[in-house]
Symmetry: C2
Subunit: 206 residues, 2 copies
Amino acid sequence: MEQHSSKLLQNAVDAFASLPGIGRKTALRLVLYLLKQPKEDVELFGDSVIKLRNEVIYCQKCYNISDKHLCHICSTPSRDPSIVCIVENIRDIIAIENTGRFKGLYHVLGGIISPIDGIGPNDLNIESLINRVKEEKVKEVVLALSTTMEGDTTNYYIFKKINSPDIKVTTIARGIAIGDELEYADEITLGRSILNRTLYENALSK
Amino acid sequence: MEQHSSKLLQNAVDAFASLPGIGRKTALRLVLYLLKQPKEDVELFGDSVIKLRNEVIYCQKCYNISDKHLCHICSTPSRDPSIVCIVENIRDIIAIENTGRFKGLYHVLGGIISPIDGIGPNDLNIESLINRVKEEKVKEVVLALSTTMEGDTTNYYIFKKINSPDIKVTTIARGIAIGDELEYADEITLGRSILNRTLYENALSK
Protein backbone atom coordinates (compact mmCIF):
# COMPACT_ATOMS: atom_id res chain seq x y z
CA MET A 1 0.00 0.00 0.00
CA GLU A 2 1.54 3.25 -1.07
CA GLN A 3 2.18 6.00 1.43
CA HIS A 4 1.09 9.50 0.57
CA SER A 5 3.10 12.62 1.21
CA SER A 6 0.58 13.91 3.69
CA LYS A 7 -1.08 12.22 6.65
CA LEU A 8 -4.25 14.23 5.96
CA LEU A 9 -4.29 13.01 2.37
CA GLN A 10 -3.58 9.47 3.52
CA ASN A 11 -6.51 9.52 5.97
CA ALA A 12 -8.95 10.81 3.39
CA VAL A 13 -7.81 8.28 0.78
CA ASP A 14 -8.06 5.48 3.36
CA ALA A 15 -11.61 6.61 4.21
CA PHE A 16 -12.76 6.51 0.59
CA ALA A 17 -10.93 3.27 -0.15
CA SER A 18 -12.86 1.60 2.70
CA LEU A 19 -16.07 1.99 0.68
CA PRO A 20 -17.22 -1.01 -1.35
CA GLY A 21 -16.14 -0.97 -4.99
CA ILE A 22 -13.71 1.93 -4.51
CA GLY A 23 -10.04 1.06 -4.95
CA ARG A 24 -7.10 3.16 -3.84
CA LYS A 25 -6.63 4.81 -7.24
CA THR A 26 -10.26 5.89 -7.42
CA ALA A 27 -10.13 7.01 -3.79
CA LEU A 28 -7.15 9.24 -4.58
CA ARG A 29 -8.90 10.65 -7.64
CA LEU A 30 -12.01 11.51 -5.60
CA VAL A 31 -10.01 13.05 -2.76
CA LEU A 32 -7.95 15.21 -5.15
CA TYR A 33 -11.21 16.31 -6.77
CA LEU A 34 -12.65 17.34 -3.40
CA LEU A 35 -9.43 19.18 -2.62
CA LYS A 36 -10.11 21.48 -5.57
CA GLN A 37 -13.71 22.26 -4.52
CA PRO A 38 -14.71 25.26 -2.38
CA LYS A 39 -14.31 24.71 1.37
CA GLU A 40 -18.05 25.11 1.99
CA ASP A 41 -18.90 22.37 -0.51
CA VAL A 42 -16.45 19.95 1.07
CA GLU A 43 -17.85 20.75 4.52
CA LEU A 44 -21.36 20.10 3.23
CA PHE A 45 -20.14 16.80 1.83
CA GLY A 46 -18.60 15.62 5.08
CA ASP A 47 -21.47 16.92 7.22
CA SER A 48 -24.15 15.30 5.08
CA VAL A 49 -22.64 11.88 5.70
CA ILE A 50 -22.12 12.36 9.44
CA LYS A 51 -25.59 13.88 9.87
CA LEU A 52 -27.28 11.08 7.98
CA ARG A 53 -25.60 8.45 10.15
CA ASN A 54 -26.33 10.28 13.42
CA GLU A 55 -29.84 11.52 12.77
CA VAL A 56 -31.46 8.99 10.48
CA ILE A 57 -34.70 7.37 11.69
CA TYR A 58 -36.29 4.20 10.41
CA CYS A 59 -40.05 4.10 9.85
CA GLN A 60 -41.66 2.38 12.85
CA LYS A 61 -44.02 0.53 10.56
CA CYS A 62 -42.05 -0.56 7.52
CA TYR A 63 -38.38 0.19 8.46
CA ASN A 64 -37.90 2.46 5.45
CA ILE A 65 -35.38 5.27 5.98
CA SER A 66 -37.30 8.30 7.15
CA ASP A 67 -37.02 11.71 8.76
CA LYS A 68 -40.13 11.05 10.90
CA HIS A 69 -41.50 8.10 12.85
CA LEU A 70 -43.71 7.18 9.91
CA CYS A 71 -42.14 7.31 6.45
CA HIS A 72 -43.64 9.27 3.55
CA ILE A 73 -45.09 6.07 2.06
CA CYS A 74 -46.76 4.78 5.24
CA SER A 75 -48.15 8.25 5.97
CA THR A 76 -49.71 8.80 2.53
CA PRO A 77 -53.48 8.26 2.91
CA SER A 78 -54.01 7.31 -0.74
CA ARG A 79 -51.85 4.19 -0.41
CA ASP A 80 -53.57 0.87 0.21
CA PRO A 81 -52.54 -0.51 3.63
CA SER A 82 -54.13 -3.89 2.87
CA ILE A 83 -51.31 -4.83 0.47
CA VAL A 84 -47.79 -5.12 1.89
CA CYS A 85 -44.77 -5.74 -0.32
CA ILE A 86 -41.83 -7.50 1.39
CA VAL A 87 -38.40 -6.30 0.26
CA GLU A 88 -34.86 -6.98 1.34
CA ASN A 89 -33.66 -3.37 1.63
CA ILE A 90 -34.65 0.20 0.91
CA ARG A 91 -32.97 0.12 -2.50
CA ASP A 92 -35.72 -2.27 -3.55
CA ILE A 93 -38.36 0.18 -2.32
CA ILE A 94 -36.78 2.88 -4.46
CA ALA A 95 -36.71 0.56 -7.49
CA ILE A 96 -40.38 -0.40 -7.13
CA GLU A 97 -41.46 3.18 -6.38
CA ASN A 98 -39.74 4.29 -9.59
CA THR A 99 -42.05 2.03 -11.59
CA GLY A 100 -45.11 3.84 -10.20
CA ARG A 101 -47.00 0.53 -10.36
CA PHE A 102 -47.40 -0.30 -6.68
CA LYS A 103 -49.86 1.53 -4.45
CA GLY A 104 -49.63 -0.56 -1.29
CA LEU A 105 -47.17 -0.30 1.59
CA TYR A 106 -43.78 -1.95 2.14
CA HIS A 107 -41.97 -3.94 4.78
CA VAL A 108 -38.16 -3.91 4.78
CA LEU A 109 -36.66 -7.15 6.13
CA GLY A 110 -33.15 -5.71 6.38
CA GLY A 111 -31.66 -8.77 4.68
CA ILE A 112 -32.59 -12.36 3.88
CA ILE A 113 -32.16 -15.61 5.79
CA SER A 114 -28.63 -16.83 5.07
CA PRO A 115 -27.18 -19.52 7.34
CA ILE A 116 -23.75 -19.15 5.68
CA ASP A 117 -23.59 -15.51 6.75
CA GLY A 118 -25.08 -16.34 10.15
CA ILE A 119 -28.33 -14.47 9.42
CA GLY A 120 -31.40 -16.17 10.88
CA PRO A 121 -35.05 -15.08 11.01
CA ASN A 122 -34.47 -13.29 14.34
CA ASP A 123 -31.90 -10.98 12.75
CA LEU A 124 -34.53 -9.70 10.32
CA ASN A 125 -37.74 -7.68 10.71
CA ILE A 126 -39.89 -10.80 10.32
CA GLU A 127 -41.60 -10.97 13.72
CA SER A 128 -42.74 -7.36 13.35
CA LEU A 129 -44.02 -8.26 9.88
CA ILE A 130 -46.13 -11.14 11.17
CA ASN A 131 -47.58 -8.96 13.96
CA ARG A 132 -48.21 -6.14 11.53
CA VAL A 133 -49.92 -8.36 8.97
CA LYS A 134 -52.28 -9.71 11.62
CA GLU A 135 -53.00 -6.50 13.52
CA GLU A 136 -53.59 -4.34 10.47
CA LYS A 137 -55.79 -6.85 8.66
CA VAL A 138 -53.54 -7.04 5.62
CA LYS A 139 -55.20 -8.88 2.74
CA GLU A 140 -52.21 -9.51 0.49
CA VAL A 141 -48.50 -9.96 1.10
CA VAL A 142 -46.36 -9.57 -2.02
CA LEU A 143 -42.98 -11.31 -1.78
CA ALA A 144 -40.39 -9.35 -3.76
CA LEU A 145 -37.12 -10.94 -2.63
CA SER A 146 -34.33 -12.03 -4.92
CA THR A 147 -34.62 -15.44 -6.59
CA THR A 148 -31.64 -16.97 -4.84
CA MET A 149 -31.71 -19.97 -2.53
CA GLU A 150 -31.65 -17.53 0.40
CA GLY A 151 -34.53 -15.55 -1.08
CA ASP A 152 -36.55 -18.71 -1.64
CA THR A 153 -35.86 -19.86 1.93
CA THR A 154 -36.97 -16.51 3.32
CA ASN A 155 -40.08 -16.52 1.14
CA TYR A 156 -41.01 -19.96 2.40
CA TYR A 157 -40.34 -19.04 6.03
CA ILE A 158 -42.60 -15.98 5.78
CA PHE A 159 -45.26 -17.94 3.92
CA LYS A 160 -45.32 -20.59 6.66
CA LYS A 161 -45.33 -17.98 9.44
CA ILE A 162 -48.25 -16.02 8.00
CA ASN A 163 -50.27 -19.21 7.50
CA SER A 164 -53.73 -17.65 7.40
CA PRO A 165 -56.61 -18.31 4.99
CA ASP A 166 -57.49 -14.60 5.06
CA ILE A 167 -54.14 -13.44 3.72
CA LYS A 168 -53.15 -13.99 0.10
CA VAL A 169 -49.39 -14.47 -0.36
CA THR A 170 -48.14 -13.61 -3.86
CA THR A 171 -44.73 -13.20 -5.49
CA ILE A 172 -43.73 -10.78 -8.19
CA ALA A 173 -43.83 -12.26 -11.69
CA ARG A 174 -40.66 -13.85 -13.06
CA GLY A 175 -40.25 -14.06 -16.82
CA ILE A 176 -38.42 -12.78 -19.85
CA ALA A 177 -37.53 -9.12 -19.48
CA ILE A 178 -39.18 -6.79 -21.97
CA GLY A 179 -36.80 -6.36 -24.92
CA ASP A 180 -34.81 -9.53 -24.15
CA GLU A 181 -34.42 -12.21 -26.81
CA LEU A 182 -35.68 -15.69 -25.99
CA GLU A 183 -32.61 -17.51 -27.25
CA TYR A 184 -30.41 -15.83 -24.63
CA ALA A 185 -32.78 -16.35 -21.68
CA ASP A 186 -31.81 -18.98 -19.10
CA GLU A 187 -33.90 -22.15 -19.14
CA ILE A 188 -35.42 -21.77 -15.69
CA THR A 189 -36.70 -18.26 -16.38
CA LEU A 190 -37.96 -19.23 -19.82
CA GLY A 191 -39.63 -22.33 -18.41
CA ARG A 192 -41.33 -20.33 -15.69
CA SER A 193 -42.44 -17.69 -18.18
CA ILE A 194 -44.26 -20.43 -20.13
CA LEU A 195 -45.87 -21.95 -17.04
CA ASN A 196 -47.02 -18.54 -15.82
CA ARG A 197 -48.20 -17.28 -19.20
CA THR A 198 -50.87 -14.58 -19.03
CA LEU A 199 -53.84 -13.76 -21.25
CA TYR A 200 -52.73 -11.64 -24.19
CA GLU A 201 -55.55 -9.17 -23.57
CA ASN A 202 -54.23 -8.65 -20.00
CA ALA A 203 -50.74 -7.94 -21.31
CA LEU A 204 -52.24 -5.46 -23.81
CA SER A 205 -53.97 -3.42 -21.13
CA LYS A 206 -50.70 -2.81 -19.22
CA MET B 1 -33.98 12.62 -10.56
CA GLU B 2 -35.60 10.40 -8.00
CA GLN B 3 -36.55 11.74 -4.61
CA HIS B 4 -35.59 9.75 -1.53
CA SER B 5 -37.80 9.18 1.48
CA SER B 6 -35.54 11.16 3.71
CA LYS B 7 -34.00 14.60 3.26
CA LEU B 8 -30.90 13.40 5.11
CA LEU B 9 -30.54 10.50 2.73
CA GLN B 10 -31.15 12.77 -0.24
CA ASN B 11 -28.42 15.18 0.88
CA ALA B 12 -25.87 12.43 1.36
CA VAL B 13 -26.70 10.84 -2.00
CA ASP B 14 -26.48 14.24 -3.71
CA ALA B 15 -23.07 14.81 -2.10
CA PHE B 16 -21.65 11.52 -3.36
CA ALA B 17 -23.26 11.88 -6.79
CA SER B 18 -21.46 15.22 -7.21
CA LEU B 19 -18.13 13.37 -7.32
CA PRO B 20 -16.68 12.58 -10.76
CA GLY B 21 -17.51 9.10 -12.06
CA ILE B 22 -20.10 8.42 -9.34
CA GLY B 23 -23.68 8.13 -10.57
CA ARG B 24 -26.82 8.28 -8.44
CA LYS B 25 -27.11 4.50 -8.10
CA THR B 26 -23.54 4.12 -6.91
CA ALA B 27 -23.99 7.11 -4.59
CA LEU B 28 -27.01 5.45 -3.00
CA ARG B 29 -25.12 2.18 -2.62
CA LEU B 30 -22.21 3.94 -0.90
CA VAL B 31 -24.48 5.94 1.39
CA LEU B 32 -26.46 2.85 2.44
CA TYR B 33 -23.15 1.12 3.14
CA LEU B 34 -22.01 3.97 5.36
CA LEU B 35 -25.36 3.89 7.14
CA LYS B 36 -24.58 0.37 8.30
CA GLN B 37 -21.12 1.26 9.64
CA PRO B 38 -20.41 2.26 13.27
CA LYS B 39 -21.05 5.94 14.04
CA GLU B 40 -17.39 6.56 14.89
CA ASP B 41 -16.23 5.23 11.52
CA VAL B 42 -18.66 7.44 9.64
CA GLU B 43 -17.56 10.45 11.67
CA LEU B 44 -13.93 9.65 10.87
CA PHE B 45 -14.89 9.44 7.21
CA GLY B 46 -16.60 12.82 7.13
CA ASP B 47 -13.98 14.51 9.29
CA SER B 48 -11.06 13.20 7.23
CA VAL B 49 -12.44 14.90 4.14
CA ILE B 50 -13.25 18.21 5.86
CA LYS B 51 -9.91 18.24 7.67
CA LEU B 52 -7.94 17.55 4.51
CA ARG B 53 -9.63 20.42 2.70
CA ASN B 54 -9.23 22.86 5.60
CA GLU B 55 -5.75 22.00 6.79
CA VAL B 56 -3.83 20.83 3.74
CA ILE B 57 -0.60 22.65 2.89
CA TYR B 58 1.26 22.64 -0.39
CA CYS B 59 5.03 22.33 -0.40
CA GLN B 60 6.54 25.81 -0.87
CA LYS B 61 9.15 24.43 -3.21
CA CYS B 62 7.43 21.87 -5.43
CA TYR B 63 3.66 22.32 -4.67
CA ASN B 64 3.26 18.71 -3.65
CA ILE B 65 0.57 18.09 -1.01
CA SER B 66 2.25 18.19 2.35
CA ASP B 67 1.70 18.51 6.10
CA LYS B 68 4.68 20.84 6.44
CA HIS B 69 6.09 23.77 4.46
CA LEU B 70 8.54 21.44 2.74
CA CYS B 71 7.19 18.08 1.54
CA HIS B 72 8.78 14.76 2.45
CA ILE B 73 10.48 14.57 -0.95
CA CYS B 74 12.00 18.06 -0.93
CA SER B 75 13.17 17.56 2.67
CA THR B 76 14.91 14.23 2.08
CA PRO B 77 18.68 14.95 1.97
CA SER B 78 19.50 11.91 -0.17
CA ARG B 79 17.48 13.22 -3.11
CA ASP B 80 19.32 15.06 -5.87
CA PRO B 81 18.13 18.69 -6.02
CA SER B 82 19.94 19.28 -9.32
CA ILE B 83 17.32 17.23 -11.25
CA VAL B 84 13.74 18.49 -11.26
CA CYS B 85 10.91 16.53 -12.84
CA ILE B 86 7.97 18.61 -14.08
CA VAL B 87 4.56 16.98 -13.61
CA GLU B 88 0.98 18.08 -14.10
CA ASN B 89 -0.40 17.01 -10.72
CA ILE B 90 0.45 15.11 -7.58
CA ARG B 91 -0.99 11.87 -8.96
CA ASP B 92 1.94 11.87 -11.38
CA ILE B 93 4.37 12.25 -8.47
CA ILE B 94 2.81 9.22 -6.82
CA ALA B 95 3.05 7.22 -10.06
CA ILE B 96 6.72 8.08 -10.57
CA GLU B 97 7.57 7.53 -6.90
CA ASN B 98 6.00 4.07 -7.12
CA THR B 99 8.57 3.12 -9.78
CA GLY B 100 11.42 3.90 -7.38
CA ARG B 101 13.49 5.03 -10.39
CA PHE B 102 13.69 8.77 -9.82
CA LYS B 103 15.90 10.30 -7.16
CA GLY B 104 15.55 13.98 -8.01
CA LEU B 105 12.90 16.47 -6.92
CA TYR B 106 9.58 17.44 -8.51
CA HIS B 107 7.69 20.51 -9.56
CA VAL B 108 3.90 20.34 -9.80
CA LEU B 109 2.49 22.69 -12.44
CA GLY B 110 -1.11 22.25 -11.27
CA GLY B 111 -2.33 21.70 -14.84
CA ILE B 112 -1.15 22.29 -18.38
CA ILE B 113 -1.55 25.18 -20.77
CA SER B 114 -4.95 24.80 -22.41
CA PRO B 115 -6.41 27.83 -24.21
CA ILE B 116 -9.74 26.01 -24.70
CA ASP B 117 -10.15 25.69 -20.93
CA GLY B 118 -8.85 29.21 -20.42
CA ILE B 119 -5.67 28.02 -18.70
CA GLY B 120 -2.63 30.09 -19.57
CA PRO B 121 0.95 30.01 -18.23
CA ASN B 122 0.06 32.43 -15.43
CA ASP B 123 -2.51 30.02 -14.02
CA LEU B 124 0.21 27.41 -13.49
CA ASN B 125 3.27 27.21 -11.25
CA ILE B 126 5.60 28.06 -14.14
CA GLU B 127 7.09 31.35 -12.99
CA SER B 128 8.08 29.77 -9.68
CA LEU B 129 9.63 26.91 -11.64
CA ILE B 130 11.78 29.24 -13.73
CA ASN B 131 12.94 31.13 -10.61
CA ARG B 132 13.59 27.89 -8.78
CA VAL B 133 15.57 26.38 -11.63
CA LYS B 134 17.82 29.44 -11.82
CA GLU B 135 18.23 30.08 -8.09
CA GLU B 136 18.92 26.50 -7.12
CA LYS B 137 21.38 25.80 -9.94
CA VAL B 138 19.32 22.94 -11.34
CA LYS B 139 21.26 20.97 -13.95
CA GLU B 140 18.48 18.97 -15.55
CA VAL B 141 14.75 19.53 -16.01
CA VAL B 142 12.80 16.37 -16.91
CA LEU B 143 9.51 17.07 -18.68
CA ALA B 144 6.96 14.40 -17.73
CA LEU B 145 3.72 15.90 -19.05
CA SER B 146 1.13 14.01 -21.07
CA THR B 147 1.71 13.69 -24.83
CA THR B 148 -1.29 15.76 -25.85
CA MET B 149 -1.23 18.98 -27.81
CA GLU B 150 -1.60 20.82 -24.50
CA GLY B 151 1.27 18.85 -22.98
CA ASP B 152 3.48 19.58 -25.99
CA THR B 153 2.60 23.28 -25.84
CA THR B 154 3.44 23.41 -22.14
CA ASN B 155 6.70 21.53 -22.71
CA TYR B 156 7.72 23.96 -25.42
CA TYR B 157 6.75 27.00 -23.31
CA ILE B 158 8.86 25.77 -20.40
CA PHE B 159 11.75 24.85 -22.70
CA LYS B 160 11.77 28.37 -24.18
CA LYS B 161 11.46 30.04 -20.78
CA ILE B 162 14.35 28.12 -19.25
CA ASN B 163 16.57 28.88 -22.24
CA SER B 164 19.93 28.40 -20.56
CA PRO B 165 23.01 26.53 -21.82
CA ASP B 166 23.69 25.29 -18.27
CA ILE B 167 20.37 23.47 -17.93
CA LYS B 168 19.66 20.24 -19.79
CA VAL B 169 15.97 19.81 -20.66
CA THR B 170 14.91 16.18 -21.19
CA THR B 171 11.60 14.37 -21.61
CA ILE B 172 10.66 10.93 -20.38
CA ALA B 173 11.08 8.19 -23.02
CA ARG B 174 8.09 7.37 -25.21
CA GLY B 175 7.94 3.95 -26.76
CA ILE B 176 6.25 0.61 -26.81
CA ALA B 177 5.11 -0.41 -23.32
CA ILE B 178 6.82 -3.50 -21.92
CA GLY B 179 4.63 -6.51 -22.76
CA ASP B 180 2.79 -4.74 -25.59
CA GLU B 181 2.73 -6.25 -29.06
CA LEU B 182 4.13 -4.19 -31.90
CA GLU B 183 1.25 -4.84 -34.29
CA TYR B 184 -1.22 -3.10 -31.96
CA ALA B 185 0.95 -0.07 -31.22
CA ASP B 186 -0.03 3.23 -32.81
CA GLU B 187 2.22 4.43 -35.61
CA ILE B 188 3.46 7.58 -33.91
CA THR B 189 4.59 5.72 -30.79
CA LEU B 190 6.16 2.95 -32.84
CA GLY B 191 7.88 5.45 -35.09
CA ARG B 192 9.28 7.33 -32.11
CA SER B 193 10.42 4.12 -30.48
CA ILE B 194 12.50 3.38 -33.57
CA LEU B 195 13.98 6.88 -33.77
CA ASN B 196 14.84 6.83 -30.06
CA ARG B 197 16.21 3.30 -30.03
CA THR B 198 18.71 2.60 -27.25
CA LEU B 199 21.78 0.39 -27.04
CA TYR B 200 20.78 -3.16 -26.20
CA GLU B 201 23.40 -3.33 -23.45
CA ASN B 202 21.78 -0.27 -21.81
CA ALA B 203 18.37 -1.92 -21.89
CA LEU B 204 19.88 -5.06 -20.37
CA SER B 205 21.27 -3.23 -17.38
CA LYS B 206 17.86 -1.85 -16.39
